[in-house]
Amino acid sequence: MDQKTRDELLKLFQGKLNEAMKFYLETCTRCGVCTEACHVYASMGQIKYIAAYRHEIVRRIYKKYFKGRGKIWPSVGEARELSEMALEELYEAAYSCTGCRRCMVYCPFGIDTQMIMSIAKLLLIGAHTEPEILTLLADTSVEKGKSLELFKEGFLTGIKNLEKEVVKKWKIEAGETAIPVDVDGADLLYVALAGAHSIVPAAAIFNAAGENWTLSFFEAVNFGAFVGDPTKTKLILDRIVKEAKRLKVKEVCICECGTAFRVMKQLSGKQPFEVSSITEVHSRYLREGRIKVDKSKFKEPITYHDPCQIARNGGVIDEPRYILNRLSDDFREMSPEPKYNWCCGGGGGLVALGEDNLDFRMKSAKVKADQVQETGAKILTTACENCHTQLSDLNSHYEMGVEVKFLSSMVADALMQ
């Protein structure tokens, strides 16, 4: 690595060194409490997957360039040069971590591995060694924001074709629109994903609840966050914020996508609208009696996978349980409890890497497969697209014999007209 490249990467590193990050980088006592916390280590048993080991790869570079002892006496200061080899280790650490933050719950100092890995991801971007597909997906989202007029007509045509599917789930009155788009003054802006499964059930439930809603032109998922690019994360987020402000909505409801929810909830700043996950909205409709569901619809035992970014990192824990207890008399909790739930193994952009890392994703999430099977449930439901994909892959790989379903689809299928 030439000096110019190293200097540029160290500038990126320095830009991440706020007080919280310095605390995370200087506090670890290597107590080992995090050892068993990572699903990758728990499943595969390799030291490199322990949270503290991942931290150490970043921490040693920090010591070399940002701490006096590391600069003067690197061998004693456990300092490490930023080199091509170090970048390879940073890649391995960052893209085997799903950012689930289970280790943070166990750590006595609350050290945030996801935050530390954000340094690794940023350095990889700076060195142009990040996963190319994640950057392409982020750039595609940014492009949609820049050139909405070019893509608007195609999107509206696609949405129009879906309306008959919505009406099959919930009949609407003549003159009503099954999927309203671009409604100025709507109360709620729903931000979905590209697939019909993310739009049709949600639309049926909004219509059943009599919600004054409108569908966003943009997809919810933030690939800028997956690849760890703060600038693109903000650009992708701002498309939705601007749309919400233009339409003067009171609430932005994020579809079943964990990262999208956490980014919108925690990074959008103070806005003139509330941010909700679709699970919170459905729970609210049930509590207020705005929708009713048929409890006899699902007869098999059900368990629920808490998406890390929605539950542990987003605080939405009671709401899915409220829904599930109205959908079934046989809802079975996984063990351990939601705060300590095992990650599905697909977060942090790993699912989006596709088949390239399928083998790793399956091996590293063995504990998740075991956790699901211990419940004896036949239906495994969740509220995140990433988790759904990963759990479906695990179901096939480990022959778990469950049916993987989206929670919103179950609510829509059980709606009572």
């Binding site: 999107f155 696609g158 074709n161 590209a194 032109f217």
Partner: protein, 80 residues
């Protein structure tokens, strides 16, 4: 297959979860030579906005979009 476009590779992306249609087409386009065409078949309504944005970003060209009742077919020429 579109009558006026010679297709070199067909990709069935129907019903795939987010973001697999774009992930698959990004890889699939590299399996054909520059100047060759892939036919990508999807059911995602959002693809009508996502695919043109992806083509612009990746430097490829959508020659034609054929929208049927429940299917959307993109004819994409590899340019880069």
């Amino acid at each position: 297959m579109s009558e006026d476009i010679k297709v070199d590779k067909v990709m069935d992306l129907k019903g795939m979860p987010c973001p697999m249609p774009i992930v698959k087409v990004s890889k699939g386009i590299k399996d054909v030579e520059v100047g060759q065409v892939i036919e990508a078949i999807t059911t995602d309504p959002g693809a009508l906005a996502d695919f043109p944005a992806w083509a612009k970003t990746s430097g490829n060209e959508i020659l034609k979009t054929d929208q049927q009742e429940d299917l959307i077919k993109f004819y994409i020429e590899r340019k880069a």
